[in-house]
């Protein structure tokens, strides 16, 4: 009976300790990345290569998704606004939704599934096939050579991808509102111009996506580096990257929104 009561308690304790331990480990990992970032910033071609794989290769999915999200916003926004006779405000609604929330959050979610999971799998497989060991034995620090360039590539790519998402989303809203429904083009854009503040909306949105970039990329490289070096281990790490990133993005978004707006 006592065992029956204690067992869940023990499991809870174990899970909690484990979570705190991992949090400490990931923090130390971030510090190690920052400490060994010199090479990836001085030999910037290493980082540029990773920006290509993580950022440039994600452009298509981000741009297409942005367009669809913008078009959906246009349709739904017009439906709702026209009920209150304020369909003219569609431009402002589309732009504000995208700049403040949808752009940074959805671009980060897409980035974690497209590039984050690939980073985890790649680093995990490098570990499983002793490539990281080989590097370390060649007196080359894998954190400096493999992890840091990927980390900076993610941090740099994320705000740019979010900005692309926003631009395409606004274009999608324009296609629906102006081209399809027939709202006045001048009103659409002037409403947007009048209601969007560069600092309050655009810069805050970019700060958000920068934070998401740090979080998502850190999770991706950490999970890869920490993966059990087997096929099952790498697969589990890749899943953890996508799941943890999604939760962290939404949680961080809530905290940032509470502070910013």
């Amino acid at each position: 009976m006592t065992e029956l009561l204690l067992s869940p308690l023990r499991r809870l304790g174990h899970t909690t300790i484990n979570a705190i331990w991992r949090l400490g480990f990931i923090t130390r990992f971030l510090l190690a990345i920052l400490r060994y970032s010199g090479q990836s910033l001085l030999r910037f071609n290493l980082t540029i290569r990773e920006i290509y794989f993580a950022g440039v290769m994600s452009v298509i999915i981000v741009v297409v998704s942005g367009l669809f999200v913008g078009m959906v916003l246009g349709l739904q926004g017009y439906n709702t606004l026209s009920r209150f006779g304020s369909a003219d405000a569609l431009g402002a609604l589309v732009a504000l939704s995208l700049l403040r929330e949808l752009g940074p959050v959805l671009a980060a979610l897409l980035f974690s599934s497209r590039a984050g999971s690939a980073m985890t799998a790649e680093i995990g497989l490098m570990k499983a096939t002793e490539q990281l060991d080989a590097m370390s034995v060649m007196a080359v620090n894998p954190i400096a050579r493999v992890v840091a360039p990927r980390f900076w590539a993610g941090v740099i790519s994320m705000p740019i991808l979010a900005a692309m998402f926003n631009v395409m989303g606004i274009f999608g809203g324009y296609l629906i509102g102006v081209v399809m429904i027939g709202l006045d083009s001048g009103t659409f854009w002037s409403q947007m111009q009048n209601n969007v503040d560069l600092h309050y909306d655009v810069v805050n949105g970019l700060i958000k996506s920068l934070c998401f970039g740090i979080a998502v990329t850190l999770i991706a490289v950490f999970e890869g580096y920490d993966a059990t070096p087997t096929a099952a281990g790498v697969s589990a790490a890749t899943t953890r990257t996508v799941v943890t990133s999604a939760l962290v993005i939404l949680a961080v978004d809530f905290v940032l929104t509470a502070f910013m707006f």
Partner: protein
């Protein structure tokens, strides 16, 4: 005989002095002492899980012993700080079991990797060095290939070219013959011997391929359960009366090493038959 506990002379490039190591609760090495002379090619043999690869990891400083000392050129690896350890590794080359080539880099970039990381040579000179190293392993002309386009034996030779890129003083080979066809195996064995003689490198080869190794090495240590059970020159090993060496050399199921895992239940019990006795 090379094995002489604490009284090894300074001409030994590598020394294990009463080294013990455990992964958690599981002991791997148990108070092991051995010495490897400068410029020689020495094999460490033993079954899977006998602690051979652990010894290489101790020499390269990837792990530290729980007791005892691992000396490389008179210096205790465990006492080295980060910079000294990397300096030590820069003078060392290691061939991993399956090559461990960087899958995202071409053959040329793989071999050039240590040179680019540790020197400031011009690209044209690095290119020439890579060609020379690839030529030494008989793979000139493969520069543009990716590791996925190489056979197992070729990948191992490219990895060997990469390991010798900076002309190391010490070469570590982790199971260099595993999974190779007889021709590739012969080529790799010949290369290991040739490189050891040509570069004057001290080489340690961890392997369980007895017959091929005895053809090329200067000395052999047999390791079992984390301790040295036999040692000698190839001729001495071939003539050894040790039942352990005999079993290992001829791959016999019965002998000092048991083939069957020590199960706690009898076969009859596992099969659900009545009256089963523990066997």
């Amino acid at each position: 005989m090379f094995l002489s506990g604490k009284s090894v002379s300074s001409d030994h490039f590598i020394e294990f002095r009463n080294v013990s190591f455990a992964y958690g609760e599981r002991p791997i090495l148990n108070n092991i002492s051995l010495a490897i002379p400068r410029g020689k090619l020495v094999a460490i043999m033993g079954g899977s899980g006998s602690g051979k690869t652990t010894m290489l990891r101790l020499i390269s400083g990837q792990i530290r012993p729980s007791a005892g000392q691992v000396l490389v050129d008179g210096r205790n690896v465990a006492d080295m700080n980060h910079a000294e350890l990397f300096e030590h590794r820069r003078r060392m080359g290691m061939l991993f079991q399956f090559g461990a080539l960087f899958t995202d880099l071409s053959v040329e970039d793989n071999v050039a990797f240590p040179i680019r990381e540790h020197t400031r040579l011009a690209d044209s000179m690095i290119h020439d060095l890579v060609i020379m190293k690839l030529s030494a392993v008989g793979l000139r002309g493969t520069q543009a290939l990716m590791p996925a386009e190489l056979s197992g034996g070729m990948a191992r030779r490219v990895a060997l070219a990469r390991a010798i890129a900076l002309d190391p003083q010490l070469m570590l080979y982790d199971e260099p013959f595993t999974g190779l066809d007889p021709i590739s195996l012969g080529v790799i064995a010949h290369l290991i011997k040739k490189l050891n003689d040509a570069l004057g490198t001290t080489s340690i080869m961890v392997t369980h391929d007895v017959h091929k190794s005895l053809d090329i090495v200067d000395y052999v240590y047999f390791v079992s359960n984390g301790a040295v059970v036999a040692a000698g020159t190839p001729a001495e090993i071939r003539a050894s009366p040790s039942p352990w060496v005999h079993q290992f050399m001829w791959g016999e199921a019965d002998g000092p090493v048991h083939f069957a895992y020590p199960a706690s239940t009898s076969l009859q019990q596992d099969l659900g038959l009545k009256g089963g006795q523990h066997d």
